[in-house]
Amino acid sequence: MERWVNLSGAGKSAAPASARTAALVEFTLPKLLIVPALALIGLFVVFPLVWSVVMSFTNYSMLGVTARKWGFIGLKNYIWVLTDPDFQAAIANSFIFTIVSALIGQALLGLALAVVMRMKGPEGWVGAATKVLKVIAGALVFVAWIIPEVVAGYCWAAAMSRGGLFTAMFGINYNFYVRHPLQAMIIANIWRGTAFSMILFMAALESIPNYIYEAAEVDGATPWQRFRYVTFPLISNALLVDFILITVWTFGLFTLIFTLIGPQMDYMWTLYVYVLATGRMGPPWTGPGPLSTAAAAADIMFVIVLALITGYLYALRRLRRWA
């Protein structure tokens, strides 16, 4: 009798134990598994961000006395950067470059291409021909996205040189990228980046079921109204993601700029290039390689990009609402 009781008692305590293991696996383990990723993000994202903010208020530099004996100097770096005519020019360049090449060029062209790609062609051989054209066009756009930036940069430099493609096509008998570096960069960046937006929008459009358009058509919507009230709101999230990514990328573009207009970069500085350049030549209070001044410039750029993204969020939310 005693043994029976003991046995059943053992059984009872065994069940909660296995339940505890299950809970551990189900709830605690996942949290533990995040830890390595969090540690890496902390080390390579959070720490540099915080350190760059701290550094921007010091006279820290890569070499020289201030590399070892640095101290806080207040807003001096910020004032130096903001009053630098080169910095002001870089801001203007960055804004024009991003708005024209990324937002208008890549995103708008990508959206237009995605819409065209998804359109139903007519029946018969015309439809078949359009289908083939679509595949070819899609492939060409995509190739621009896969080609390494260095190759793309030098190709464009060749095309825009005197005697190159631009001379043959438009009769431009000078080095286009030398005289018009901003325009050259805009063309190259649109060419290169449109594929990303196109693919993103194609995926977004694909997720809208066709019968919703049919309903809108029967409800009496014109093609424009179908885009404005059905397509646009339904892809606005993709639009936001696209805007954020291409803004960040275009602001941080370097390789394409360096390879295409490298020697002329002094005339076409973007913010990012300015930040990099400032790391070499800075104000007199820091030593060679004035990292602190560069950090101040980088932080300003960070705030600008953040403000832009906030602006997108706000604008899209307004547009999504009923007019």
Binding site: P209, Y211, I212, E214, A215, A216, E217, V218, D219, G220, A221, T222, Q225, Y229, V230, P233, L234, R320, W322
Partner: protein
């Protein structure tokens, strides 16, 4: 009030699927016209062609005698309830219903009045602030219905608009919809596979099967004079019973001979039949469950049968019996208690039997 006319309309989906085969009909002003048929019979395709979402391969479609075959949907002034509901996922219920009115630049106050009115009718007035994904299937379907009903177009097109409602709500909505249609007198083409819905709502029914329209007639006529075996079998619950028989003329008697029985036809009917099919013919005897009487003793002209199973339904009872190898359903008002395997005799209401040619499946009488 508008008319809709289809002239030799055929739709072939590539490579060679004939969805609709030479449809011809005219829907009159203010008529409630039902396209009835099993799934895949082409009724939805017919509706989509009238809406302008599909282009007929051959033939023409007229609304108010105006050729609309090549007109895009938005210029046809029709409203449609989709089988898939097709609600706008990014709009709240209110905006979904208001959408067609907003496109037409209807004043804000009028939109508000109309939306609330139709929402109340369909009992979704408490859901106006929700998004479609927050609703049940039945609720979403009523929103889709509301989006069509909120307008007064030339034609209402409805593709199974009540299929997802629960049984009770469906019966209620059926009545509401019919009343609204009669009140506003908007020409309506309604697609369903539910013959009860068709019978209860339609002014006329077109029964379709395999892309062909088999019969167009008022519900009563469809029920009483089915032109083909398919129509007879599709309309009515439980469906019409079919028993294979042979029509023979013996010593001036007109007989329907089946497995283990023989029915003598009245002279008039027999002579008529002889004129149509000759002295001998293979036929299918069709008789509705409510036109059979069960007798426990042998009677002249009665068919011997064995009780298979009894299904009591409350006000009526369905008695399943076997005549030879054929299962026959009989509707008995009230209670009918038969033990399985009981021997019974079936007496047919001879004026209400149908005979179909076994080969062509067309009605002989």
């Amino acid at each position: 009030m508008s008319t809709v006319r289809l002239e030799n309309v055929t739709k072939i989906f590539p490579p060679n699927v004939v969805a609709v085969n030479n449809a011809n009909f005219k829907v009159e002003k203010g008529e409630f016209f039902v396209l009835l048929g099993p799934s895949g019979c082409g009724k939805t395709t017919t509706l989509r062609m009238i809406a302008g979402l599909e282009r007929p391969t051959y033939g023409k479609i007229y609304i108010n005698e105006q050729d609309v075959t090549d007109l895009p949907p938005r210029l046809r002034d029709v409203a449609m309830v989709f089988q898939t509901w097709a609600l706008y996922p990014h709009m709240k219920v209110y905006d979904n219903i208001a959408f067609p009115l907003r496109l037409r630049k209807v004043p804000r106050s009028e939109i508000d009045r109309k939306v609330r009115e139709v929402a109340k009718l369909l009992r979704i007035d408490d859901l106006l602030d929700r998004y479609p994904k927050q609703l049940s299937g039945g609720q979403q379907q009523r929103v889709a219905l509301a989006r069509a009903l909120v307008r007064s177009p030339r034609v209402w097109l409805m593709d199974e608009p009540l299929s997802n409602l629960d049984a009770l709500l469906r019966v209620q909505m059926r009545a509401e919809l019919k009343r609204l249609q009669k009140e506003l007198k908007i020409t309506t083409i309604y697609v369903t596979h539910d013959q009860v819905e068709a019978m209860s709502m339609a002014d006329r029914i077109a029964v379709m099967n395999k892309g062909r329209i088999l019969q167009i007639a008022p519900p009563k006529e469809i029920y009483e004079k089915p032109r083909t075996k398919f129509v007879g079998g599709f309309v009515g619950t439980p469906p019409m019973n079919f028993i294979p028989v042979t029509f023979v003329v013996e010593n001036d008697k007109y007989l329907l001979k089946g497995e283990g029985f023989s029915i003598e036809l009245p002279k008039e009917l027999g002579e008529y039949l002889r004129e149509k099919v000759g002295d001998r013919a293979e036929l299918d005897l069709g008789v509705r469950p409510e036109h059979i009487r069960i007798s426990t003793s042998e009677e002249p002209n009665a068919i011997p049968a064995t009780v298979y199973i009894v299904e009591p339904l409350g006000t009526e009872t369905i008695v399943n019996v076997k005549v030879g190898e054929t299962l026959v359903k009989i509707k008995v008002i009230g209670e009918a208690l038969f033990e399985p395997s009981t021997r019974v005799w079936l007496v047919f209401d001879i004026n209400k039997i149908h005979l179909f040619d076994t080969k062509t499946e067309e009605a002989v009488i």
